[in-house]
Structures are given as structure tokens and as C-alpha cells.
């Protein structure tokens, strides 16, 4: 529009100026007038077309907006979340990880205590699907020995021995969810579950002849729940203190903020190390687990509290809080019935983004030998055994827990990133 209008005006100016001056060639004047009419017509036509276009586009926009306005906030978030492929994949992977952890005892062919004395440092075994042209999954036997020159454990496939693979085989007894006694495992080899007989080690075995696959699966129970419990702990502390701090302001805010600053003035990993070193060695595993979780959330809450304080500071001055105040709601009600629910999306995002940090902190502490100790098996405890460079070089499969950790961390980060974008559905 704007680019055309000046053109028309210039034409008008030329014509009127020419007429006023009086000494203009009449033919030229007529031509100018004609040209002016042409311009005007063209301009009108263009304008009409533009209007028509605008109406169509506007209607479509309007319809889309209308559809959007009728959705609830959660529906909007979901829409935005699903559009982010990476976040969706991250979410699915996380879901699978937790599902696996839940059924880890059933999914793994052995138990934590199963030891194959004649199968020390066996490399990952493949599953062969076809036996002599027939579909009959099996695994070859393995012969192990010691290389006298290098003192390395060597093992080779023994093609004369085949162990057929079976589903729902009877194996060592375990307790599903720690409650239901069971002895069926999802898969295993027929013909002997105990030591000395056939076995399937999908990810190989470690220096004590324990199945890596089993240990990683069952280790995920500890590693993944320590994140959940730790985040839950720091979330409850962080939410209350963060919201209170943001809502009341004044000296309460000052005190809480100074406390946060004090905690944060310590470097996190050294502080964690110093605190976990204080856990007595003779404590039972369960108590150590909770002590480590508590130590991790001791620093974790500060970040969550900061995030929520910021959120509450913006919410505090909104109309719905004023309305609640005018209706006589007391502070507790405003905080827990209005402010916390209003920031719940934000809380979920912050919690998701805090998860990988928790899992990694546990891994790091256990890796240093300060956190969880055997017989508790977590991913950190597993990679503690990788510390020995020599063993990585010769038996690289003991490194496999690291891959599980990395996948879990990446998935959490992708999920958290997607959730963060989705939590603010009103910006496009």
C-alpha cells in the first residue's frame, strides 16, 4: 500500500500544478489526466484485491485462533510439546528406562549374585537366530582361559556347543517389585542357569563373572530412583522456600536469599564429596542410599528455589492474586491454592531439568567410592570398576554402563528442553 500511494499523489500534483500555471500543452494535459485516471483505477483494483486476500487470510487466522482459544492451557502445552520431535523421543526413552527399571528383575536373565566362575571377562555374546536354516535362536558356548604370557583372560566361541534360547525360563528366584516372589525370567538359555553350565551374556561379564546386562538393568533401579527421590526432596524444600521468598519479599526474602547464596558459595562437587565422606561405612545399604539422596538435594533445592522465586515474583502482581486477596484468602491459601498450581508447569520443567544433574552426581560420587558402595549396585558403582585403564583396554565391554548413563542424560535433557518450550504455550 504505502509504496503505491505516493505515486498517485505525484500524478495528481503534476496535473494540478500544470493546470494552475496555465501555459501547458493541452495535449499533454489530457494525456496526464488520462494517465492519472489509469493510475487511480489500478490502485483501486489492487486495493480491492488486497482486501479480498486479507479477508481470506484473516478468516483462516481467526478460525485457527478460535480453535486455539477454546483449548485449555494443558492442551496447548501438549500440542506444542508433541511438535518437538527430540523432546518426544526423549520422553519415550525416559519412559522405557523407568519401565525397564520397574521390571528389571524379570527382564534380566540372572540376578545380582549370580556368578559364573568359569566365565570371567566373557565378551558380549551374540544371539544367533537361525540354526541350520530353521528359526531357533541360540547362543554358542564359550571357552575361557588365561593367556600365560600376558595374564589376560581370553575366551573364544565354542561352536560345538549350542544353548537354545528360551522365553520365560525358570531361573534364580527373585522378588518382583521387591514383593512378589518369582523365578521366571524373560529370556535365558535352556539347560542350566547356575554356574558351570550354559549362559547368555548379552553385554559380557565382569571380573567376577557376573552378567553385565543384568547388573546394568538392576543398577538402573538405584540410579534412576535416586534422581526421582532427590528431585522430590529438593523440590518440596525448593518450592516452599522459593514461593515463600517470592511472595512475602522483605526480610523473609532476604534471609532465604542469603541462605541460598551461602550454600551456593561452596563448589558443589567438593561439598558433596566432603559430605558423603561423612557417611559411616558400617551403615546398612538402605540408609546409605537415603543419606546420599539427602546430600544431593541439600544443594539441589537452591536452584529450584531461585527458579520458583522468579516465577512467583511475576505472578504475585497478577489480577487473580489480587482477586484472591480481596476475597479474603489468607496467605497460605494464596500460596498453595493459587501460586503453586499456577507455577506447576514451571515446577515440572525445573524438576525434569534437575534430574540429569542428580543422576550424574550420584554416579560421580559412587565412582569416587564416596557414595553408594557394593553390594548396592548402581551405574556409578558399575563404572567405578572401569577406573582401571588396563581393564578398559583389554575388556572394553565393561565400559557399557557409561553408554546407558549418557543415553539417559541426553533423553532427560531433550525432554526438559521440550517441556520448557511447551510450558509457555502463549508464545509462538
Amino acid at each position: 500500500m504505502s509504496s503505491r500511494t505516493p505515486t498517485t499523489n505525484t500524478a495528481v500534483d503534476t496535473v494540478t500544478n500544470g493546470a494552475r500555471n496555465g501555459h501547458v500543452n493541452p495535449a499533454l494535459a489530457a494525456q496526464s489526466a488520462q494517465l492519472f485516471d489509469l493510475y487511480r483505477e489500478l490502485d483501486q483494483r489492487l486495493q480491492q484485491e488486497r482486501y479480498a486476500e486479507d479477508i481470506i487470510v484473516g478468516a483462516a487466522d481467526h478460525a485457527a485462533d478460535e480453535a486455539r482459544y477454546s483449548l485449555s492451557q494443558w492442551q496447548l502445552m501438549w500440542r506444542k510439546f508433541v511438535r518437538n520431535r527430540a523432546a518426544l523421543v526423549g520422553g519415550i526413552v525416559i519412559g522405557l528406562f523407568y519401565l525397564t527399571a520397574l521390571f528389571a528383575n524379570f527382564l534380566s536373565p540372572y540376578t545380582l549374585t549370580t556368578r559364573f566362575r568359569d566365565r570371567v571377562y566373557v565378551p558380549p555374546q551374540g544371539i544367533h537366530l537361525f540354526d541350520e536354516g530353521r528359526f531357533a535362536p541360540f547362543a554358542y558356548g564359550v571357552k575361557t582361559g588365561l593367556n600365560i604370557d600376558t595374564l589376560e583372560r581370553v575366551s573364544e566361541i565354542d561352536p560345538t556347543v549350542k544353548y537354545p534360547l528360551r522365553f520365560f525360563v525358570k531361573g534364580e528366584p527373585y522378588k518382583l517389585f521387591g514383593l512378589i516372589p518369582a523365578e521366571r525370567h524373560l529370556f535365558g538359555v535352556a539347560g542350566g542357569q547356575g554356574a558351570g553350565e550354559g549362559a547368555i551374556n548379552l553385554l559380557g561379564t565382569d571380573r567376577q563373572g557376573r552378567d553385565m546386562f543384568t547388573r546394568i538393568l538392576i543398577g538402573s533401579q538405584v540410579s534412576l530412583t535416586i534422581g526421582l527421590v532427590g528431585v522430590a526432596l529438593s523440590l518440596s524444600l525448593g518450592t516452599v522456600l522459593g514461593v515463600v521468598s517470592g511472595f512475602f519479599g522483605g526480610w523473609i526474602d532476604d534471609v532465604i536469599q542469603r541462605a541460598i547464596e551461602l550454600v551456593r558459595s561452596f563448589p558443589s562437587i567438593p561439598l558433596w564429596m566432603a559430605l558423603s565422606a561423612a557417611i559411616p561405612a558400617q551403615w546398612p545399604p538402605m540408609r546409605v542410599y537415603f543419606a546420599v539422596t539427602l546430600i544431593l538435594s541439600l544443594i539441589g533445592w537452591t536452584w529450584l528455589a531461585r527458579q520458583l522465586r522468579g516465577q512467583v515474583l511475576t505472578l504475585r502482581n497478577q489480577d487473580f492474586v489480587l482477586a484472591a486477596k480481596l476475597m479474603g484468602a489468607n496467605n497460605g491459601r494464596i500460596i498453595f491454592r493459587h501460586l503453586v498450581p499456577a507455577s506447576i508447569g514451571h515446577i515440572i520443567v525445573v524438576a525434569t531439568l534437575a534430574m540429569p544433574g542428580m543422576i550424574l552426581a550420584e554416579t560421580a560420587l559412587s565412582f569416587l567410592g564416596l557414595g553408594l558402595q557394593p553390594p548396592i549396585t548402581s551405574w556409578g558403582v558399575l563404572i567405578k570398576e572401569v577406573q582401571n585403564l588396563q581393564s578398559i583396554a583389554i575388556y572394553p565391554w565393561v565400559f557399557s554402563p557409561v553408554i546407558f548413563i549418557v543415553v539417559a542424560i541426553l533423553a532427560f535433557n531433550f525432554l526438559g528442553d521440550g517441556l520448557r518450550d511447551a510450558a509457555d504455550p502463549y508464545t509462538r
Partner: protein, 327 residues
């Protein structure tokens, strides 16, 4: 400005006091003391040592005194640079801590240097080529870098180095050079053991800063003074580098302040994994043997380092951005 720095330094004193009390308390938390650990170790080795000797040693090192007396004794020596006695090393704490801190600071500073020299150009490129293939590739790389912690990367590097590249990784230098006189080959070897941990330490910060630089540049490039600069007919390179980057770089300095604590923290872990003389390995050992003055001094100085770096970041920010006024 100088008044601001002095005020901040003075404000650090009470904080340091509280930190030192908390530190001492944490270090005292484990049941038993250094001599209990030592006794247990000796008993494990089979030789015996009577409890009386340990009691005498306890009295000699003042471990029989109440905690607050021990704390005061510790603090007393500070003005003279005496931070206590390491029982495990039978040496004063300060020289041990000083060397490790120095290495940590040098490593950290170098990794920050790498971070900045990589993150700024990449951030600029990403913002001027938004959504291009290069931008997406850098973003993905950054995301992975952001997600993986230093100690896992260090493990990866050890793994790759030992298994794939078949080179000597870990430590300050290869074993064959440890007693060799300074030579060109030794320098190269030192360097080859120095840059990988620095890169690993800086990786997550690099990713973070690259992100911030990108979004900050995108904000700035949409502002009117950039349009004006372009309308004046300035060369695009001048518009970006002298008009855009100058303004966009400010948020980066505040982020840098947030990254330094991470680097200090992470350097302890990476040092342990790669057996480097950072604060980490000795601190861990001190914690395990309950060598309390050594562990406490380490924790104290790492905290001090963190506070100093925060102050430094504030000062640099005020210096770069004249719009910030500190009252």
C-alpha cells in the same frame, strides 16, 4: 569502581568466616579421626601398634581438645599463612594446597580461554546463519556438550586414548619423561597431556556460552541501531563485529561468572579421573584418610576461589558495560 571492589572484598569476610565454620563442621562429621583410620589401616596390614601411642599422638596434634578449641587453633594460624598440619603427609598444609590450587587455576583459566575463543565466533556464525545446516550442527554439538559432564568425557577420552589412539593419556606427562631434562619432546608431551583436560573441562561451558551468544546476537541484530548502521552503508562485517558483537557480548560475561564455579567443581573430578595434580585427587585422599586440616583447607580455598571469580566477573561486567552502575 575501586570503592565497589573494596566493599565487595570486605563483604566477603563475614561470608568466609561462616564458610570456614561450616567447613570445619563438615570435616569433623565423619566418626573417628585420622588416627582411627591409620590404626585401622595398620591393623589391616597385620602389624600392631598399641592404642597408647595413638593417644599420645592425639594429644600432640590437639585432637583431644573440644571442637571449638581445634577450630580456633586452626583459624589462629591463618594470618601467618599457617593452615594446619597434614597428618598423612607430615607436612604443613599450605604448600600442598598451594601447588594444587595453582594447577587448577591455570587449567581452569586455559579452559575458559578455549571456551571463549570457540563460543564467540560460533555464536556469531549461528546467529547470522540462523537455521542453516551449520547452525543446526553447532547447536546439536552444543547440546551434547551441555548434557555430558566432564568426568564422563574424561573417562571417554581415557577410553578412546587407550583403546583407539593407543597413546598415553592421563597424568601430567608420560612416564618416560618424568625424570628427563627439559627438551622439546618433553614440552610437546606436556602439552599433549594439558590440552585434553582443558577442553573437557570447558566443553559444557562452551556449549552454554555458544547458546547465549547466539540468542544475544539475534536480539541485538533486530535492533534499530543495526538497521541504521546498515542504512548508512557500512560493510556487513563492520556492522556485525563492531556494532552487534560489542553489545551482544555483555550477557556472556554474566554467564561466564556462572560457569567458573562449574569449572572449579568439575576440575576436581576430572583431575581424579585423569590423575592430574588438580585439587581433586589430594582432596579425595584427605577425605578418605580424615586428614582434616588438609581437607578443610582445600574446601575453604575452593570456596574462596569461587567467590573471587564471582567478584572478578562483576568487575569485568561493570568495566565492559558502562550502563551498569554499582552504588
Amino acid at each position: 569502581m575501586i570503592a565497589f571492589i573494596i566493599r565487595r572484598l570486605l563483604a566477603m569476610i563475614p561470608l568466609l568466616f561462616i564458610v570456614s565454620v561450616i567447613t570445619f563442621f563438615i570435616i569433623q562429621l565423619p566418626p573417628g579421626d585420622f588416627f582411627d583410620t591409620m590404626q585401622a589401616e595398620i591393623a589391616q596390614n597385620g602389624s600392631s601398634q598399641d592404642a597408647q601411642t595413638f593417644q599420645i599422638l592425639r594429644v600432640r596434634y590437639g585432637l583431644d581438645q573440644p571442637i571449638w578449641v581445634q577450630y580456633l587453633r586452626w583459624v589462629q594460624g591463618w594470618p601467618e599463612g599457617d593452615f594446619g598440619w597434614s597428618m598423612a603427609w607430615s607436612a604443613p598444609v599450605w604448600p600442598l594446597v598451594r601447588d594444587r590450587l595453582l594447577y587448577t587455576v591455570v587449567l581452569g583459566a586455559f579452559s575458559l580461554l578455549i571456551t571463549v575463543t570457540y563460543a564467540i565466533p560460533v555464536g556469531i556464525y549461528s546467529s547470522t546463519h540462523q537455521y542453516s545446516l551449520g547452525d543446526n550442527a553447532f547447536s546439536l554439538l552444543g547440546f551434547i556438550g551441555l548434557s555430558l559432564p566432564g568426568f564422563l568425557l574424561a573417562l571417554f577420552w581415557m577410553f578412546v586414548g587407550a583403546l583407539v589412539l593407543r597413546i598415553n593419556v592421563g597424568g601430567v606427562m608420560s612416564a618416560e619423561f618424568s625424570n628427563a631434562p627439559l627438551s622439546w619432546a618433553k614440552l610437546v608431551d606436556l602439552w599433549n597431556h594439558f590440552w585434553p583436560p582443558a577442553v573437557i573441562l570447558g566443553l559444557s561451558s562452551t556449549a552454554q556460552m555458544q547458546r547465549i551468544m547466539r540468542s544475544s546476537m539475534l536480539d541485538v541484530l533486530n535492533q534499530q541501531f543495526i538497521t541504521t548502521a546498515r542504512a548508512k552503508g557500512l560493510k556487513e562485517s563492520r556492522v556485525i563485529n563492531q556494532y552487534g558483537v560489542r553489545v551482544a557480548i555483555n550477557p556472556l560475561i554474566s554467564v561466564l561468572a556462572l560457569e567458573i564455579p562449574k569449572i572449579i567443581s568439575e576440575s576436581a573430578l576430572v583431575g581424579i579421573v585423569m590423575s592430574l595434580p588438580t585439587t581433586g585427587p589430594l582432596f579425595l585422599r584427605a577425605l578418605q584418610t580424615q586428614d582434616m586440616y588438609l581437607a578443610g583447607t582445600f574446601l575453604l580455598f575452593m570456596t574462596f576461589l569461587l567467590m573471587l571469580s564471582n567478584l572478578l566477573a562483576d568487575v569485568v561486567l561493570a568495566w565492559v558495560d558502562p550502563r551498569i552502575v554499582y552504588e
